[in-house]
Symmetry: C2
Subunit: 314 residues, 2 copies
């Protein structure tokens, strides 16, 4: 790796002299003394083995080599200025990219609204949303590919204590039925009633599916006795299946707001069962936090967080 034969300060001085036509004026412009200017130019000339200025005449004139160097000098200094501007923009959130991770559910129904709000406030920061499994999202946060993420499942334990996990909101997984289903008339169901239903579920790899299975099991139900009509890998597909009368399902309430309002799907109430999961914000405390990420966490997330989330207090 070659030594650098000049410094930016020298180039700055060169430019100033060329512009002012005088060592002294350049010195005044740069708020240094004249000898400092003289010495720096002498060093520059020594190191490059060229003569840069013609000191003979009334004003300091550039030699051919000097003109050549000045050309590069201006380009280099311009690049430097540009770099500074770009960095400033990044600091003032006028640039940069925020990478957010999310699960299927939050990524589809929650994040778009949050991102919309963020982009409204900081239109110059581009936002990238990566929808992946809980596990993969966790790893991406761990190695810095994702700035922050909201997950609804359980992280592998090794990641759990590597990352900062903040409770963010409670996501109710509602039992939904076709509107014409016999049980949709009953005001309250009991968990025993679940055995009477045909279920349309997410595939067994899905985090949401695992969460639901675990919650049902924990509440004393026998998952083996639950009838699974079909497994689909998309919430939208399940919603359509339920609306078409193909079966029941546990779905995040955030995903069925529109359908409930339109009355095309029925949300049942089970008096002796609550299927809820914690949505959690995960970040990597041992990694650099971008300004955009900070702002998102401090200003945007709390507006969507449940009242008991620590995010509200921050």
């Amino acid at each position: 790796m070659p030594e650098l034969p000049f410094t930016l300060d020298q180039l700055r001085i060169l430019k100033a002299i060329a512009a002012q036509g005088s060592f002294k004026k350049a010195a005044d412009l740069l708020y240094v003394t004249q000898p400092a200017v003289s010495l720096q130019i002498q060093n520059l000339e020594k190191q490059l083995e060229i003569t840069i200025f013609d000191r003979g005449g009334r004003k300091a004139l550039l030699t051919e080599a000097g003109r050549l160097l000045l050309e590069y000098c201006e380009r280099i200094l311009n690049q430097c200025d540009e770099a500074c501007k770009a960095i400033e923009d990044l600091n003032s959130l006028k640039g940069g990219t925020l990478v957010i991770g999310a699960s299927q559910t939050t990524g589809t129904y929650l994040m778009p609204r949050m991102i919309g709000l963020f982009r409204q406030k900081y239109p110059d920061v581009s936002v990238q949303l990566q929808v992946h499994s809980t596990r993969r999202t966790g790893w991406s946060v761990a190695n810095g590919q994702i700035d922050l993420a909201i997950i609804g499942g359980q992280l592998p334990s090794d990641l759990e204590n590597l990352l900062q996990v903040i409770p963010y909101a409670t996501d109710e997984l509602a039992l939904v039925l076709p509107t014409r289903h016999p049980l949709s008339n009953k005001k309250e169901l009991l968990k025993e009633d679940l055995y009477k239903l045909n279920f349309v579920t997410l595939d067994s790899q899905s985090t949401t599916r695992k969460v639901v299975d675990k919650l049902l099991q924990d509440s004393g139900l026998d998952n083996q006795r639950l009838k699974i009509e079909m497994e689909l890998n998309s919430l939208e597909a399940i919603k359509n299946a339920v609306q078409s009368g193909l079966g029941a399902s546990f779905l995040p309430v955030v995903s069925i707001e529109r359908e409930l309002a339109a009355g095309t799907i029925h949300k049942a109430f089970i008096s002796d069962l609550e299927v809820k999961r914690e949505l959690k914000l995960i970040t990597n405390p041992s990694r650099y936090t971008s300004r955009a990420s900070e702002v998102f966490k401090k200003n945007i997330l709390p507006q969507f967080a449940s009242s008991d989330s620590p995010l509200r207090q921050m």
Copy 2:
């Protein structure tokens, strides 16, 4: 004028770390100690108010701001390298421009050959030939627009002692006649014979014309008695006029070599008159001398100089 928030050394270090993925390896690469690298990056981060590297993981990873800065960093360092190369080329005569001044005569008949020789040796140095009057050429040398020049006339006295004037060669101004002219049969002419001729001359502003007039006058001739058939402003035009039998003229021998060889023009010999002028090299000793100019003066000019020129001894 804004302060520069970083130095080239810092950028060099940044680049090295990014490439090596490690502070230590970067330090080794740059032949400095590891703390030096750490401190410089810390300074850089402080001054730009950003975090550049994520030191958490196994290897030092760039943050978003770091990546942004690196982009500019590489561009800036590339420009620096380019600048160095350009300067080196200039130093080793692989670039640059040599500006040569000349009068009509030398510019037309002498310089092309010299420049040809120079370009053969240094094909990467471009040469610019400026043909102007002696006076204008002198001023251009004085203020540095021309590196060196060869003139055949007399400089204004103020320029004379400002510039370095080196006798270069003697240029004979030969009396030329149409081949069918009655006097072209005589072996020798006397200056009295000039009164019998019709002359085709350069215009009276021309340096060569002035020189000839002065020499004739100094030799005792009465210029008023010389018949001037026409005045033209180009040597080539005069040559054609003479060849066409329109009259006689004094022309530099270098300009009629071809015609003499072809026998299309006659050079007369005047036994009691020598019309010769000194060609002089002029340079500006108080100005920067480019390497190209040096080489031209030391290596090219002597090959064309007369044996008694100081250039031969240099």
